[in-house]
Amino acid sequence: MIPAAFGYSRPKTLDQALREIRNGSKVIAGGQSLLPLLKLRLAAVDRLVDIGSVPGLKGIRRLDDGRMAVGALTTYRELLESPAAEYGLLRDALPMIADVQVRNRGTVGGSIAHADPASDLPACLLALDAEIVARSPSGERTIRAAEFFQGAFATALAENEILTEIRLPGPRDDAGSAYRKLKQRASGYAIVGVAAVVVRGADGTIAEARIGITGVGDVAYRATAVEKALVGSDGSARAIGAAAVLATEGRVVNADIHADAEYRTAMAAVYTRRAIEGALARIDG
């Protein structure tokens, strides 16, 4: 497993990193996704820009408005051991990502920017309605998760942008969240992964619902049909079941040696139901 030769730089500031990224280069952080691709020669780069030494991209802080900001270089493990674990779905999802070694090295920003269509965090960020912060030489912008993931390994990041931070909405007592995943046994990636955030109104009905689904198609997506069916319902088993079967509505469902499309479709419904049930249990419990 030997990659083709490539250039390498390790800038000390974000501005320097931004100057060094260009056509043919690729930003690297924890290296848990990109390095295997390079070693298998499924990807090739002229130059790796290693942002591991760039200050200010690590760590988790609470913003004044209650939101939580997660630095792009935060590892999965750091995130799990941070106050972000108060989000039930992250508490569910993070331990299911790969193995201990990957969770110790792999970064949240790297995973998001890589945008593997079967990785877990995209579904979580969609359900949380997270914002992704990107910097370019001309400044900073925020991108909503729903606009960020555009296809398999394709995001809204421009060639000259570096992902710096992820912002999660502040916690609220009337919301519950959960992540449920059917693992592809060999890789541990999702055959289906469903993140659910549900808000129960004062009258007991479902006031808000956001469902993020990964592994099913070529990009993680919001299951808007499920959300619509759920909102306004009483959150009963029957209502959840009726909503969950809409999990793949309007989507092209993948088929591979691990799961045919029919199975994936059925599992999307099962896991959507299970995720919604899990989210509601966290409010009610």
Binding site: M1, I2, A4, A5, L40, R41, L182, R185, A186, S187, I257, H258, A259, D260, E262, Y263, A266, M267, V270
Partner: protein, 798 residues
């Protein structure tokens, strides 16, 4: 002393170095001036090579040499050492590099040697090959059909061999007249062995002596030397030294001769003696190291309504890949078809084997080798038969077990008889108590309650039994040595024991350890015999220069064959020492007793010499009995009269998620009878590992080729190796029926877990799904496969 060491659960002395990263594996070896080799592999499963342009590669930085099939065509193809089943004029084996045609994805097309592994790898990409793709066939049954793509001119219809065993007429009659006949097609899917250390070789030709030293990840360095010398390079055997350093797992895949063992040696000579190293990448291991299993079988089992089995007819198509690996034809014949009797009295058995060439990687022995396939078939057949007649599977097994008073037992269909009329029998056994023990631990007869409880949770719970025998301790020569059916060479083992002046003992063995713990168990055997401390015994193996010839480690044979050789060599030491002790004690040899490391004169226990004192006298040598050679140094060769036949019953309990089809193995009970145990801790470890590999086949593992011959499951991202967290703690128990065919009373254990567990888990899943009317599912029982079965069963009911 003796009783304490033998049979003690001593921790493996080799483990600290493995656990702390201080082992020495092939890739740890670095020699001065060493070069690295890389192989350009065919991206096509079947293609004509129109041209190869190596110009650009040769000009790459660090490139020392680039060779193609044209350059290596004077090197013989690798031999097929076990042309069992009547393979005759249609043997096709791999060449160092393909000439004109490639026949499987991954076949070597060009070889690059460079100053570094990185440079060699880069240069591979600069070689330009013009291929003309040819039609591809990957499925063995399809390969036999009219009009299928043909792989080899000398093998019409892609047939390697058609071979039969058993009693055809009797079996036909049994099936024709039977009260009940159950038919089923079952597929035993292809598996990839996946040792954690990949394979490779490092060779150095010495221009001063014209000798080759080849370090290799091999289970059988002596045999490799023999094959390379006699069949491939045509170099005298004594001019080659083969060394297996620490080897990180093999499961059979490192028994065979591979091209890299030859091309590194050949290349080193071409380069004037520069060492050449080749180590597979993980991807190459998936593609190019041998695979296992891959059978398609149609069988019929016949019997009476009250559960007596009367006949078994089996037709198996065995996919052997594009070429024959070293012992490939022996697996579906001798090690599979001849074992189809299992632990049962089946009056009439007939088996037809068709070996087939396809455009896939080579298939050869993989942990259990033929015996897991036979056990899986039989144990599925018993369950299907039991279900057909409405009897309990355990009851049917009990009714058909070979009775304990029938041992040694000869199979009535002559499965154990080879062409020369030599017939092997099962040495010893007592199958019912072992099964009953397993059933009791599992709570087999109370499982109904657990099934009801699981249903309330949306699960189907099932219990599965697998009763097995294994033919292991692969030997004796009189059976395996027969040319044409056996492999035309012996299967004895050897050991040398030397007691040095200081009383320290060095044991060298011709067997080879790649995880089995020989350094511990062989030392236990010899320490027990000689009555010396365990820590005083050093075991050396795996270097043809320092050890007596041996056939290597596979087929669970090192303890039963090699272990007895070590014991016998130690016994020879004792006999010589007894004569010397008599001389030292001025007593008659007949009056010398030996116990606990001490020679004493009968009736005068204070007149004694320890074996260390005797060793000192033998080594110093100034006062020896007339005619006695100095030093204690004895070699023994052991060829047992028979295989050894461990047996047992495994029980699996599973829960199937009705909604997702996911199978959860919740309990696993293994009661094995492996005879006497040299080290129970190592035995348990072997059983644990074996079970996991068999469970892997039942639930997760599968080598998948696309129709155009690409290995789709070619990485750990796509080939699901079992993880510890997916498995319950195993519940192990034992019965002990010593082997009567070797003086240690031991039977093999390295493969039993794998042989038993696949069927136990498969039977449990089918039992779980029985309420839905499902009677059989092929492996692996992945969630989608089980889910689809549940869906169609429910659809059928609706």
């Amino acid at each position: 002393m003796a009783t304490q060491v033998l049979g003690a659960p001593i921790k493996r002395r080799e483990d600290p170095r493995f656990i702390t990263g201080e082992g020495h594996y092939l890739d740890d070896i670095k020699l001065p001036g060493m070069t690295s080799a890389a192989v350009l592999r065919s991206p096509y499963a079947h293609a004509r090579i129109r041209s190869i342009d190596t110009t650009a590669a040769k000009a790459m930085p660090g490139v020392v040499a680039v060779w193609t099939g044209e350059d290596t065509k004077d090197i013989n193809p690798l031999p097929c050492a076990w042309p069992a089943g009547g393979v005759d004029n249609n043997i096709n084996t791999p060449r160092i590099l393909a000439i004109d045609t490639v026949r499987w994805t991954g076949e070597g097309v060009a070889l690059v040697v460079a100053e570094s592994a990185e440079q060699a790898r880069d240069a591979i990409d600069a070689i330009v090959v013009d291929y003309e793709p040819l039609p591809v066939v990957v499925d063995a049954e399809a390969a036999l059909k009219k009009g299928a793509p043909q792989l080899h001119e000398n093998a019409p219809n892609n047939v390697v061999m058609r071979w039969t065993v058993g009693k055809e007429k009797e079996t036909d009659a049994a099936i024709k007249s039977a009260e009940v006949v159950v038919r089923q097609r079952i597929v035993n899917q292809r598996l990839i062995p996946n040792p954690i250390e990949t394979r490779g070789a490092l060779a150095r030709w010495d221009p001063g002596t014209d000798e080759y030293t080849i370090w290799m990840t091999s289970q059988a360095p002596h045999v490799m030397r023999l094959l390379i010398a006699a069949f491939v390079l045509g170099v005298p055997e004594h001019k080659i030294r083969c060394i297996s350093p620490d080897v990180g797992g093999a499961f059979g895949s490192k028994i065979y001769l591979y091209t890299d063992m030859v091309f590194t040696a050949w290349a080193s000579k071409q380069l004037g003696g520069r060492p050449v190293k080749f180590v597979e990448s993980r991807s190459e291991n998936y593609l190019a190291t041998t695979h296992g299993r891959d059978h398609i079988t149609d069988f019929e089992i016949a019997g009476t309504r009250d559960g007596t089995i009367t006949g078994l007819r089996v037709k198996t198509i065995a996919n052997l890949g594009a070429y024959l690996s070293t012992v490939a034809p022996g697996i579906p014949t001798t090690l599979y078809a001849r074992l189809l009797g299992g632990p049962y009295v089946t009056p009439a058995i007939w088996c037809e084997i068709t070996g087939v060439y396809t455009n896939t990687g080579m298939v050869d022995a993989y942990r259990g080798a033929g015996r897991p396939e036979a056990t899986y078939l039989l144990e599925r057949a018993i369950d299907l038969f039991a279900r057909e007649i409405g009897l309990d599977g355990a009851a049917v097994r009990r009714k058909n077990f070979i009775p304990p008073d029938q041992f040694p037992y000869r199979n009535t269909s002559g499965l154990g008889a080879n062409r020369s009329g030599i017939e092997l029998s099962i040495d010893s056994g007592n199958y019912t108590p072992t099964m009953d023990k397993a059933l009791t631990i599992a709570g087999y007869y109370e499982i109904g309650k657990a099934k009801d409880e699981a249903r309330r949770r949306g699960k189907y719970l099932g219990i599965g039994i697998s009763s097995y025998i294994e033919a292991c301790g692969i030997a004796p020569s009189k059976w395996f040595g027969l040319p044409g059916e056996g492999w035309g060479a012996g299967l004895w083992e050897s050991a040398n024991v030397r007691v040095h002046l200081t009383g320290k003992v060095v044991v060298t063995t011709g067997s080879q350890s790649h995880g089995q713990g020989h350094e511990t168990t062989m030392a236990q055997i010899v320490a027990a015999e000689l009555g010396v401390p365990f820590d005083d015994v050093l075991v050396e193996h795996s270097d043809t220069a320092g050890t007596p010839f041996g056939y290597g480690t596979y087929g669970s044979r090192s303890a039963t064959v090699g272990g007895v050789a070590a014991r016998n060599a130690a016994r020879k030491i004792i006999e010589k020492s007894r004569r010397l002790a008599a001389h030292m004690l001025e007593a008659s040899v007949d009056d010398i007793e030996f116990a606990d490391g001490k020679f004493s004169v009968q009736g005068s226990p204070d007149k004694a010499k320890t074996i260390q004192e005797v060793a000192l006298a033998a080594s110093v040598g100034y006062d020896l009995p007339a005619g006695m050679e100095p030093f204690l140094d004895e070699t023994a060769y052991y060829d047992p009269p028979n295989l050894s036949w461990p047996f047992g019953t495994h029980v699996a309990i599973v829960e199937v998620d009705e909604e997702t089809g996911e199978v959860d193995l919740t309990r696993y009970i293994a009661v094995d009878d492996v005879g006497k145990k040299i080290n129970p801790l190592i035995v348990d470890g072997q059983i644990h590992g074996g079970i996991v590999q068999g469970v892997g086949q039942a639930l997760w593992e599968s080598a998948v080729y696309s129709d155009d011959g690409q290995l789709v499951s070619g990485s750990m991202m796509d080939y699901a190796l079992p993880r510890a967290s997916w498995l319950p703690g195993f519940e192990l128990d034992e019965t002990i029926t010593p082997s009567t065919d070797n003086p240690l009373g031991v039977k093999g254990v390295g493969e039993t877990g794998t042989i038993a567990s696949t069927a136990a888990v498969a039977n449990a899943v089918v039992d779980a799904l029985a309420p839905l009317g499902i009677r059989h599912l092929d492996l692996p029982l992945t969630a989608p496969r089980v889910w689809h079965a549940i869906q169609s069963a429910k659809g059928g009911q609706a």
